[in-house]
């Protein structure tokens, strides 16, 4: 199987996780580590960029479920962005659009975070 990697970049208070390659049962723990790393450093505004993700399995989807509760409890969110049609289809089938905000681009997701922040303050 092809490799999987994650990278994180912070834009202000918002962190973006970039996913690359194949996210399945074997690589899911890497993403888990990345997200729990962000949560440990109290970063709860998370955007996930799926641009370079080739494949996601059910175990990969499970990773987001594992953290969403904790993040939302802390007034944060995990917003998904820039999915290919194929990846979106998998999320869509499972009803993820009913549970997560999914945006066409990373910017949209970040702007959405900013809007809510402005509204709050």
């Amino acid at each position: 199987m092809a490799e999987f990697s994650t990278s994180v970049s912070d834009k202000g208070e918002i962190s973006t996780i970039y996913l690359k390659g194949f996210l399945d049962a074997h690589t899911a723990p890497m993403l888990e580590n990345t997200i729990s790393g962000l949560i440990d450093s109290r970063k709860y505004s998370i955007v996930v960029n799926f641009q370079e993700l080739a494949y996601i399995s059910s175990a990969g989807l499970g990773v987001f479920m594992a953290f969403i509760e904790k993040v939302r409890e802390n007034a944060g969110d995990i917003k998904l962005s820039a999915m290919s049609d194929k990846v979106y289809n998998i999320f869509d089938l499972l009803g993820f659009p009913l549970l997560y905000e999914i945006y066409k681009t990373e910017e949209e997701a970040i702007n959405k975070f900013k809007e809510t922040k402005n509204l709050e303050s």
Binding site: A2, D24, A25, A54, Y55, S57, S58, A59, L61, G62, V63, M65, A66, E69, K86, I90, L93, L94, G95, F96, L98, L99
Partner: protein, 705 residues
């Protein structure tokens, strides 16, 4: 059993010994002064028998113990010292106590008889014991059977001793002398058999040299003191001439044996060190082979490695610096504390080259800044890399204290040894991996077995619904589940589900799903309600990362409708009049949300069925099947095949799909379960003349539980 027999004979020997000792005592008491040759011979026979049984008994008692030549030599030394004191004391004390003992010996009274008996008896034991010890020394490390030499010698010893009864007849003295000369010659021949010296270490050889000189002198003094002119000689002779003679022979044996021993040891000493090194090399080889047998346990193996490292390079402490995922930690520390090991390890990692160039290096701690912090004054180090496939996995470190340094021999030794250790460690790791792999495979076997038992063993045979199913498990068990429920004569329910994750955990959730749907389908009719309930129940058991995609449907045979609800599962495909429809009511996967949101978003659709409708249920194992370029098989391709073959028998359709999917995924392992369920709806049996009569009959041909 053997043990008992040995015990028994041991007892008999002991009893015989005591018996003869008692006989001898009374014989002495009664006939002590009788000088006739007959009584003398009888006396000697009793003494010889007593001594023989004593020696035989001793063999049995001591044989079982492991014999160390040096302790045997020590025994002889101690006994000689005892004899020396006995002789010296007898000369002065007896004279003082008994006055003119020579006179009294000729016509002994009771006191003299008892004293003489005890004295003689003391010598029987000590001399016998010396003889026994010589015998053990003789047979030590002998490679061929040499008992003939020794037995011949014993015979001549006995002959010479016994011939001493002829002492009063000087003209017959030549008999005794001949026996003695032959005995001495045999002693010389037998004393050369001292190959056991070679097996001693240098230290042992030095102490043997000193001991042999001392004992040699003792033997000489004792033989000089036991001549007839001394009181001791007279007492012993009056007790038994053969004992006296035997003792003299033993003293001669001692002088010859220890004389030869002394010179041999002397000549062996210069080569002793070389011999020591050889034996050490041999024992290192033994250690290496020990490593091979310990690859089953990594911890035990590392412990052995450091233990041997200390021995091969004569160091005071040793440990392994293990590099694991970039982190280093000391393993299997021997004679060094964790703090010291950590400090020195840091210094070593700084100084050692990494990569394929790493080789065994001697380091000094003189320039080490942290040296003052060490609790023990380690001064010099020998460090050897533990390499596998040119990759440094760690270092084997050995340390010496204070002024001790490692020489080139030590360096070579640890270098060679670390090569062996590297191989053993690598083997151990590989073995651990393969055991883990086997364990996983066993676990997956169990998971597949669970899955096989959960899925329906055969399809229901229905008049109006033709069913074809295909299920192909993935090696890792994907967690696909499907089932059929014959709810009533009019209603037929079905479910298809895919558990997230793989392996045994997925199999367990499958088992739970079967229980949930099996029971819910009996009480609840509406698919939406069933999925809502199922979600509620799963809330209690599913962990946050797991979820289940499922679709539940009911075909009403009377209404001729299909009602379906979908919780995150692949759409249900309906093929009607050469057209593909994806039935995809909204719904979130089970276990993803446990609020009203789940209920509110879950839709239920109802479709009127038409003749020859094809209803296809599947899991993503089909659409996401990969080819070698990692492309998906895809929904479009799937739909195309279904459409092209929609007129055929359901089994033919499913076969065609599976055939195409496997062709597509050639040369790539199937990574998810594949499930395909196809229903064909036969609407109006009335149109079929043959089946007309069945209209009033029950709809189900057979009830499959």
């Amino acid at each position: 059993m053997n043990f008992k027999i040995a015990d028994l004979t041991k007892n008999i020997k002991f009893q015989s010994f005591i018996g003869f000792a008692i006989i001898l005592f009374f014989f002495k008491l009664i006939f002590g002064s009788n000088e006739s040759i007959f009584y003398r011979i009888l006396n000697e026979l009793f003494v010889i028998m007593t001594a023989s049984f004593f020696i035989m008994y001793m063999f049995d008692v001591i044989r079982a113990k492991k014999i160390n030549p040096l302790s045997l030599i020590m025994n002889i030394g101690i006994l000689n010292a005892v004899i020396f004191f006995l002789i010296t004391f007898s000369d002065s004390i007896m004279k003082w106590v008994f006055g003119n003992i020579q006179q009294r010996l000729i016509k002994p009274d009771l006191v003299i008889s008892i004293v003489s008996y005890l004295y003689g008896f003391l010598f029987i034991s000590t001399v016998s014991y010396i003889f026994f010890t010589f015998k053990e020394l003789f047979f030590l490390k002998q490679k061929k059977n040499v008992s003939t030499y020794f037995n011949t010698m014993i015979i001549f010893f006995l002959a010479a001793s016994f011939a001493s009864v002829l002492n009063p007849y000087p003209e017959l003295n030549y008999i005794k002398t001949t026996f003695i000369i032959i005995s001495v010659m045999l002693i010389i021949v037998n004393s050369i058999r001292i190959s056991w010296i070679a097996f001693l270490s240098k230290k042992e050889k030095v102490s043997l040299l000193i001991l042999s000189v001392v004992i040699l002198i003792l033997f000489c003094v004792n033989i000089a003191n036991s001549s007839d002119t001394h009181l001791h000689g007279q007492v012993l002779q009056s007790f038994s001439t053969s004992l006296d003679q035997f003792m003299n022979l033993m003293m001669i044996y001692g002088i010859i044996y220890f004389g030869i021993l002394f010179f041999t040891t002397l000549f062996h000493i210069p080569t002793a060190e070389a011999y020591d090194r050889k034996t050490q090399e041999i024992s290192s080889l033994q250690y290496f082979s020990k490593l091979i047998t310990q690859v089953l346990d990594f911890k035990e193996l590392t412990e052995t490695v450091t233990e041997i490292a200390i021995k091969v390079c004569n160091s005071h402490a040793a440990w392994i610096i293990w590099i694991d995922n970039g982190e280093t930690r000391p393993l299997a520390k021997k004679n060094i504390g964790i703090v010291d090991a950590n400090l020195i390890s840091g210094y070593i990692l700084e100084k050692m080259k990494s990569g394929p160039d790493a080789k065994t290096t001697l380091l000094s701690l003189d320039k080490f800044e942290g040296k003052v912090k060490l609790s023990e004054k380690f001064n010099s180090l020998a460090v050897s890399p533990i390499k596998t496939h040119n990759e440094v996995k760690g270092y084997l470190a050995a340390a010496k204290r204070n002024d001790f340094i490692f020489d080139d021999d030590d360096k070579d030794a640890i270098d060679t040894f670390s090569d062996y250790a590297s191989i053993a460690i690598e083997n151990s790791r590989l073995l651990e991996e393969s055991i883990e792999k086997e364990r996983l495979e066993k676990e997956l076997d169990v998971a597949r077995e669970i899955q096989r038992k959960i899925l329906p063993s055969k399809n229901p045979q229905l008049e109006r619904i033709k069913i074809s199913t295909v299920f192909i498990p993935a090696f890792e068990v994907g967690g696909d589940y499907y089932d059929f429920f014959e709810l009533s004569e009019e209603k037929f329910g079905f479910v298809i589900a895919d558990v997230s994750g793989k392996g045994i955990s997925a199999a367990f959730i499958m088992a739970e799903l079967k229980g949930i749907f099996e029971s819910l389908s009996k009480t609840i009719e509406r698919p939406k309600e069933i999925l809502v309930k199922a979600n509620e129940i799963l809330h209690r058991t599913l962990d946050r990362k797991s979820f289940v995609s499922a679709a539940y449907g009911v075909i009403d045979l009377k209404e001729e409708t299909l009602t379906i609800s979908r919780a995150g599962h692949c759409p249900v495909i309906l093929i009607r009049d050469k057209e593909v429809q994806n039935i995809r009511p909204s719904g979130i996967g089970l276990g993803l949300n446990f609020t009203d949101h789940f209920i509110n978003t879950l839709e239920e659709v109802k479709i009127d069925l038409k003749e020859n409708d094809l209803i296809v249920l599947y899991t993503d194992g089909i659409t996401e099947a990969k080819n070698i370029k990692l492309d998906d098989f895809g929904n479009l391709e799937f739909e195309k095949i279904l459409l092209e073959n929609s007129d055929k028998h359901v089994d033919e359709i499913s076969n065609k799909v599976i055939k195409d999917v496997s062709l597509f995924s050639q040369n790539i392992s199937q990574h998810d379960d594949i499930t395909l369920v196809i229903f064909r709806w036969k609407q109006n049996l009335n149109l079929d003349g043959e089946n007309k009569w069945q209209n009033s009959a029950p709809q189900f041909q057979t009830k499959v539980k």
